[in-house]
């Protein structure tokens, strides 16, 4: 019997972490206790940004990471974070289906084996005022945390301000930032209704958390156990998707109960945002090369 340490970045009560714990239990049962997985949620082992390298180099056997965090390494990792390319759970699933072989090949080069991926609730826009068009966004201080969000600010005429995750709540409370793009979950968790008033469900993108195993470790797993783990992974992917959908509704209700106006963006605004999305997809394609183009073509063919 062996024990795998599984670092996860988000707190124990987050649905990704709860799903990870259920996956770990499934693996324990499915392998008849030959492999037990010890989940370490909330960054209690490695911080989110370190988890991929920790798995790659064999410091831990398995772990979970938001791969779009690594898009500086390879633009393909950012396929799930292109604004307005696949703006719904269904589209996101199709996009992932198209991307999976490419992502698996890329991870393979990095000594990683993909087990499952679960989407976050869709990203929406938070504001301190009513916004009906891109023109209304001009000059608003927008929290950016990577190149995509900076570019989004630039294209919408907002002022990108860099605010680290730990300082989000305080930045909104003091007016350092006035707007952000994030899932309803983040806003709900950080209780942003204390400072912000409007949430627009623009479903900009659905980034995913990926659970990966070190390939040297994976190679030593017996075939029977491999298929047991794969079965648990498929179950976790399905369960995670449902949890994400349910959580989306839950957090929308929570934001509304907190006093925020929660609504889909108006047609005019949505049209303008899609145009910006087209620009950003084109820019991503330039960075991601043939791989990226093939991926997007395949996704478009599925629709």
């Amino acid at each position: 019997a062996e024990t795998w340490d599984m670092p996860m970045a988000y707190s124990a009560s987050n649905f990704h972490s709860e799903n990870g714990v259920a996956f770990a239990e499934c693996v324990g049962a499915g392998t008849n206790g030959e492999i037990t997985i010890e989940v370490h949620p909330g960054g209690s082992l490695f911080a989110g940004a370190d988890i991929k390298r920790a798995i790659q180099t064999g410091q831990v056997q398995i772990g979970e990471r938001l791969l779009s965090g690594h898009q500086n390494e390879s633009a393909v990792f950012g396929f799930d974070s292109i604004p307005f390319l696949a703006p719904s759970f269904d589209d996101s699933e199709k996009l992932f289906k198209a991307a999976r072989p490419k992502i698996e090949a890329l991870l393979d080069e990095q000594n990683l084996e993909l087990l499952y991926a679960v989407p976050w609730p869709p990203q929406g826009l938070y504001f301190k005022k009513e916004v009906n068009s891109v023109a209304d966004m001009a000059g608003v201080k927008f929290r950016s945390y990577n190149n995509t969000t900076s570019r989004l600010a630039e294209l919408t005429g907002m002022l990108p301000v860099t605010v680290e995750a730990a300082e989000i709540s305080q930045a909104f409370a003091t007016g350092v930032a006035e707007s952000m793009v994030s899932s309803g979950a983040t806003g709900y968790d950080r209780k942003v209704w204390e400072s912000l008033t409007h949430f627009y469900e623009v479903d900009a993108w659905l980034p995913r958390n990926y659970v990966m195993v070190n390939q040297d470790v994976w190679a030593d797993v017996s075939d029977a156990n491999k298929s047991a783990i794969r079965a648990c992974a498929d179950a976790a992917a399905a369960r995670g998707l449902e949890a994400s959908k349910a959580y989306t509704q839950f957090t929308m209700d929570g934001l509304a109960a907190g006093g925020m106006t929660v609504q889909p963006a108006g047609d005019a605004l949505m049209g303008e945002l899609r145009e910006i999305g087209a620009t950003m997809t084109a820019e991503w394609l330039e960075a991601a090369g043939d791989e990226g183009a093939a991926l997007v073509d395949e996704f478009k063919a599925m629709q």
């Binding site: 340490d5 707190s11 370490h40 949620p41 209690s44 082992l45 490695f46 370190d50 300082e167 409370a173």
Partner: protein, 436 residues
């Protein structure tokens, strides 16, 4: 059984390394390495470097050397002297006299900085020489400083509350508001203690300043203007949205440099000395932080803190019993880990326990912060003790003894919180943030 064996071995190695005089930061790395070996972790060297790199290259950490540098600049200006000139006519007549400046200055500076070490170095650098010159009992000077500096973690902005809030998904704004009254009450308790000791103690014979008329007192208060200006600029920059809590530290440095320039105390040599001093002090703290980061990872691999928390969960305690068990648990853990690490390592198990017992999570955040504060001054691994040792050359034992009454006051504070929970929950519940 294996856990007891791991704990025993851990303690032996820790006391062996620290006790024989191996540098604190390096001792922590040694102990962490042993822990990784016991946990049978893979690629220990790799993990060590990765974790140390992550913790040393952190953006939020930059506030620490900035505040230390600010303290070094202020220490070389007439500012500390002036501050005492301005405060002494008012505080000298209080029972306990100028020792109160330690507590008042820490409370005020706590509103500027989110960390206890920054509060301690900035205030200590200025107040220790001034209080010594006035012959106040050394143990009171050191003790009150060790204790009051921990207010940096309770009075907003607070690093400990940010970490807690992110871990349990509670509003950081609410937590910040919740910390205000308990922080002030704790400061009041420290001051009451100083007053009592000043009556009871025989070696309390400070050099007394001559009495002043009210007019003279008010005139002397002009000396306080620069300090208040500096603090207002730093706090103002944060609350008016010009700077984040981390950036405010840089504003503090610029403010201090400007003050020094106006006072004529900014010379090339004083600038160089302040900078080199800040470089060494922050390196001292950074080495310990690096060791602590590796120790936190090692503890995560051994699973020890979680196993202990699981043990408490299995006991099925009543609400009060649970709080008592957690108090003892975090005091023991806080002896060996810094408070924030013990929160991160155990919250996954403790949070559901606390929620299930129907305890308000905002209130519990303040409870946790008091306990995290205690960890700063408990041996063998207590951050404020280390920083004070670096500043004063006193032995750990002496500083620990001087800080012990402050520790006991914090324990009392926990009971005050349990008996009067409103002191933490009233403000966040009644202050509705108005959007816009």
């Amino acid at each position: 059984m294996t856990e007891l064996y791991v704990i025993a071995l851990f303690l032996i190695v820790l006391f062996l390394l620290l006790g024989t005089g191996v540098w604190v930061g390096l001792s922590l790395m040694g102990v962490a390495w042993v822990g990784m070996m016991l946990a049978d972790a893979n690629r220990i060297g790799d993990s060590m470097v990765q974790e140390i790199w992550r913790s040393s290259s952190s953006w939020t950490l930059t506030a620490l050397p900035m505040f230390i540098w600010m303290g070094e600049i202020l220490y070389r200006t007439r500012l500390s002297e002036d501050m005492f000139k301005g405060l002494s006519p008012w505080l000298a007549r209080l029972p306990g006299g100028l020792v109160h400046t330690n507590i008042v200055a820490c409370t005020v500076f706590a509103a500027v900085s989110g960390s206890s070490a920054a509060t301690l170095t900035t205030v200590g650098k200025m107040s220790i020489p001034e209080l010594r010159a006035r012959q106040y009992p050394e143990n009171m000077v050191i003790g009150t400083l060790a204790g009051a500096a921990t207010l940096g973690l309770m009075i907003p902005p607070s690093l400990a509350l940010i970490v807690y809030g992110v871990t349990v998904n509670e509003s950081i704004t609410k937590l910040f508001f919740a910390g205000v009254f308990p922080g002030l009450i704790l400061a009041g308790m420290f001051m009451a203690y100083v007053a009592i000791v000043s009556f009871a103690s025989k070696d309390w014979n400070p050099r007394v300043e001559t009495g002043m008329s009210l007019a003279e007192k008010l005139r002397n208060s002009r000396f306080l203007a620069p300090v208040f200006a500096l603090i207002s600029v730093v706090i103002g920059s944060m609350y008016l949205g010009y700077a984040t809590a981390t950036e405010a530290a840089a504003i503090g440095v610029i403010g201090a440099l400007t003050l020094a320039l106006f006072q004529g105390s900014l010379t090339p040599s004083s600038f160089r000395e302040s900078l080199m001093g800040a470089m060494r002090t922050s390196a001292m703290i950074a080495l310990i932080l690096a060791g602590a980061a590796f120790l936190k990872l090692s503890m995560g691999f051994t699973g020890l803190p979680r196993a202990l928390a699981d043990g408490i969960a299995a006991m099925e305690l009543s609400r009060f019993q649970l709080l008592m068990a957690l108090l003892v648990f975090y005091i023991v853990l806080g002896m060996f880990l810094d408070g924030i690490s013990s929160v991160v390592l155990t919250m996954a198990v403790v949070e559901p326990m606390v929620r299930e017992a129907g305890i308000d999570l905002i209130w519990f955040g303040i409870f946790v912060v008091v306990v995290v504060e205690m960890a700063q001054i408990t041996p063998p691994i207590g951050f404020n003790l280390f920083v004070l040792q670096g500043m004063t050359n006193h032995e750990m034992g002496y500083i620990t003894k001087a800080a012990l009454p402050m520790f006991l006051i914090m324990v009392l504070m926990v009971f005050v919180l349990i008996w009067f929970p409103d002191i933490a929950t009233w403000l966040p519940e009644n202050l509705r943030q108005t959007p816009g």
